[in-house]
């Protein structure tokens, strides 16, 4: 009987159904390929793990370092006295280190800012996602994203020159540098973030669900308010948290317009009182403090408190988010939820109720503390009036009213941003000459140009992104693709969230204490780059994670089922459609890095130098810092101020425009 071995390559006789033999060579070959692929996969996994690990470690490191520098103050003054002392006067004799007024002022500014920007932002997001005709959407959406890039110091500059003046005249007060000015400015600043992220969330509500609601005869507004928005709630919450984070942590703009008097407004709702925030205090005093003094440690104490507040906000938000998810969102469509025993369900329900009450109490307390009984009553009245009206008016009228409000929101937003842009462009353009762009400054920036500042900013941003992007993407890949949801991922995610909400000035403090002083880098380019990189890292991780998550499980399974390794699946199937999301995250990061002043304030910048940096260890000029000093310390340079603001704006907006264009192109190619 013939078999394959006797006639290699020969024809099989008809009727013989044995398989053709496979030579040992090919088998060995495929084995080798397999094991090589396997080894490579393991290596890659290790790299991503290192990234994620780094991201977590750095948070704890920052925290530890701040605490280390802050603990003397708790020791000398006592935690309680430090937190509840009513007077902050570190240069008086005897010096007083009570930060209670600073804490209250920070909260007040943030709350009012959010009261302005949450309704406007969410309303605008709904308009863009749901109501805008596609042509309007094509213009407004990228425009809002572009506006996210307006650096905070530009807002601060505008606030200082225009807004405070407007408040002074219209409210007839001696100075316009007030709580109100700070809140309006912060509210406007938080808008682009809130709008962009909410809009993404609303738009990503599945079309089927929307159609399901329409098919039941729901009006457009009913569909938006009862199906689409609830489904997008976690995204909107994330947007609001990002907005709050931006507001609490904002230093420069607030510092420039709030008057910086460390007093609690009297009465507490007097929005025309000057205030001083925690961040503002750090921004003003850190540069002048003697290293190692009580005052120095007290400032680190403030940074720790600031960090503590952001932590509390984030944790609170996480709890709310988890509750929403539990209640509304899909658990896992493929695995039907195991319905527990009756007892357990009862317990879960009890817990839910309990959480509701707890959240209510906390909210009530906050309201009570801030606005007194009046505010609480007003809120209750407003809510009950809303409930009453809701049932009585025909859906059509509700829709008409709601849509008018939404259009009002988007118009106010566009108006506010338009005014700011117009003011800066109209006043800056006449001074924008070739010489201004290419010459070094002279006479303290009153003449000459800003060339070294432009170059310095570009160096800083490029370095920061080069450091943060690979680590951030790696960490995100590890978190979404390689880990099962468990305690470890929870810790890492909480860590990144915490880092994300960390005010930029805190990074500045850390960079100063660790990089500049402890490692002995001095005030230098590299210190600024690393500080900025740490600051943008969480943004990159979060946005990357989010876009990776939007790739459906079925796509992953499809690839794995074809015998692809994990890494091949990630690289070929999961990453390409995620690119637009990652680019968005990077855009936001570039904008932040280019526009931020606080982190580089003490780590990298000098006000005036004729030279470009020779090495990474030279200090640089940077546009935002230049603008800040020009606006606050150099009288008689109005033209230069506006022109600098315009250049900074133009630079950032150009970055943004490019990135948005790239994303737009890749987005067209792929849609789930």
């Amino acid at each position: 009987m013939k078999n394959g071995r006797d006639c290699p390559g020969g024809k099989q006789p008809p009727g013989n159904h044995s398989f053709p033999p496979v030579s040992d060579e090919t088998l060995a070959g495929s084995h080798e390929i397999l094991s090589r692929r396997h080894r490579r996969d393991r290596l890659i996994r290790a790299v991503w793990f290192a990234c994620a690990f780094f991201a977590v470690i750095i948070i704890f490191f920052i925290l530890a370092f701040l605490l280390f520098d802050a603990y003397p103050v708790f020791f000398e003054i006592g935690i309680w006295d430090f937190l509840t002392g009513m007077v902050w006067n570190p240069t008086g004799s005897p010096p007083a280190y009570g930060i209670y007024p600073l804490i209250v002022d920070s909260l007040l500014v943030t709350i009012l800012a959010m009261a302005i920007s949450i309704p406007l932002g969410v309303g605008s997001a709904i308009y863009i996602a749901e109501l805008a005709p596609s042509r309007v959407k094509a213009i407004v959406k990228p425009a809002v994203e572009l506006l996210a890039g307006i650096p905070s110091v530009v807002f601060g500059f505008f606030g200082l020159i225009v807004l405070t003046d407007w408040i002074r005249v219209n409210f007839d007060v001696p100075t316009g540098e007030t709580w109100l000015a700070g809140s309006i400015l912060l509210g406007v600043m938080a808008l682009p973030t809130i709008i962009s992220v909410s809009e993404d969330a609303i738009s990503s509500a599945p079309r089927e669900v929307r159609e399901g609601s329409f098919a039941l005869g729901a009006t457009h507004w009913q569909t938006i308010s009862r199906v689409v928005t609830p489904a997008a709630l976690s995204g909107i919450t994330a947007a609001i948290i990002l907005g709050i984070g931006r507001a609490v942590g904002e230093t420069m703009a607030v510092l420039m317009v709030t008057g910086n008097a460390a007093v609690i407004p009297d009465p507490i709702w007097n929005v025309l009182s000057p205030v001083r925030t925690l961040t503002g205090t750090l921004g003003i005093e850190m540069g002048e403090v003697a290293i190692g003094s009580t005052h120095y440690h007290a400032l680190f104490g403030i940074a720790v408190v600031l960090l503590g507040i952001t932590l509390a906000i984030n944790l609170f938000a996480t709890v709310i988010l988890a509750r929403i998810k539990e209640k509304h969102m899909a658990v896992n469509a493929c695995s039907p939820k195991k319905s527990g025993t009756g007892e357990k369900q009862w317990f879960a329900r009890y817990m839910q109720k309990y959480k509701n009450i707890l959240a209510g109490i906390v909210l009530g307390l906050v309201l009570l503390a801030v606005f007194g009984l009046m505010g609480l009553l007003a809120a209750l009245l407003g809510y009950s009036a809303f409930r009453l009206i809701q049932g009585r008016i025909s859906p059509k009228w509700t829709q008409r009213v709601a849509f008018s409000l939404i259009v009002f929101c988007i118009l106010s937003v566009l108006f506010a941003l338009g005014v700011i842009l117009y003011d800066i462009i109209a006043n800056g353009l006449p001074y924008l000459t070739w010489e201004f762009l290419t010459a070094p400054p002279s006479n303290l920036g009153r003449s000459g140009g800003i060339f070294p500042a432009i170059v310095g900013t570009m160096y800083l941003v490029a370095g920061a992104i080069a450091i943060a992007l690979p680590i951030g993407i790696g960490a995100a890949i590890y978190l979404t693709e390689y880990t099962r949801e468990g305690r470890a991922t929870k810790i890492i995610r909480t860590g990144t969230d915490l880092l994300n909400g960390t005010p930029s000035i805190v990074f500045g403090l850390f960079g100063f204490a660790f990089l500049v002083i402890y490692l002995g880098f001095g005030v230098s380019l590299i210190a600024g780059q690393i500080t900025l990189a740490l600051m943008v890292l969480p943004t990159i991780i979060r946005t990357t994670e989010e876009s990776l998550r939007t790739v459906p499980v079925s796509a992953r399974e499809g690839s794995l089922a074809l015998g692809a390794t994990k890494w091949q699946t990630i690289r070929k199937v999961i990453l390409p459609p995620s690119v637009p999301g990652i680019v968005t995250g990077t855009i936001l990061s570039i904008g932040r890095a280019a526009g931020e002043t606080a982190p580089i304030l003490f780590t990298a910048v000098v006000f005036s130098t004729r030279f470009l940096p020779d090495s990474l260890f030279d200090p640089v000029m940077a546009l935002p810092y230049h603008l800040y000093i020009l606006a606050t310390n150099v009288p008689g340079a109005k033209g230069q101020q506006y022109a600098t603001a315009l250049v900074l704006l133009g630079l950032v907006v150009a970055f943004y425009a490019l990135a948005i264009w790239i994303r737009h192109r890749s987005a067209a190619a792929c849609k789930w």
């Binding site: 159609e211 969102m329 469509a333």
Partner: protein
Amino acid sequence: MVNLMSEQSIIRTSNLNLWYGEKTALKDISMEVPDRRVTALIGPSGCGKSTLIRCFNRMNDLVDICRITGRIDFHGNNIYAKESDPVEIRRKIGMVFQKPNPFPKSIYENVAYGPRIHGMNDKKRLDEIVEKSLRNAALWEEVKERLQDSAMGLSGGQQQRLCIARTLAVEPEVILMDEPCSALDPIATSKIETLINDLKKQYCVIIVTHNMQQAARVSDYTGFMYLGEMIECGTTTQIFEHPKEELTENYITGRFG
């Protein structure tokens, strides 16, 4: 024009044309749909049957580039007339989609959604409506213990029946079903088919299906579509046993499609 016997017709389309941008999707469709019967639309993929069914409750309005001429009369009123309100039409003409699309809410809230948006806030009445609708959709026994659980935790077949219950809860006159079983297994499919049979006692049901056996099993009338045209309409028995057109016969006998 194809006439459907002597039945009381509830929907009548006349010379309906539809374009997606430049592309013609429906050509000169004229047909009548009888009340309290099941009418099936069959035809190969891309023949326009889903497009047609989405015209009946103006779901195509949501597609930007869609343009329509001709008329569709519901109880003798043109639903594409200027003064007619798509929201009102969709309340009376419900729809069940190809892929189950429950809202990311609890089972109870899914069913209560429709009555609520139409102004029903009485908790007791809502409870009754939810129970009745779930019973009519043959889902009550399976979910009565866990009405507050997320609807997303249900199986595909249960989700689809939930979507039907959701539609029944607003008490429409017509129920459109766009390949309601294409994502389901045979057991879930047979449950839905039994349900369709019950539904026609109270409702006019129009079902799009690419499964000819299903059309033969559940429908009283059948329309065969091809490349955007209505080739032939008639009783299901006639279409399947004595098709008048050669195209229909070829499709029925599986020679293409």
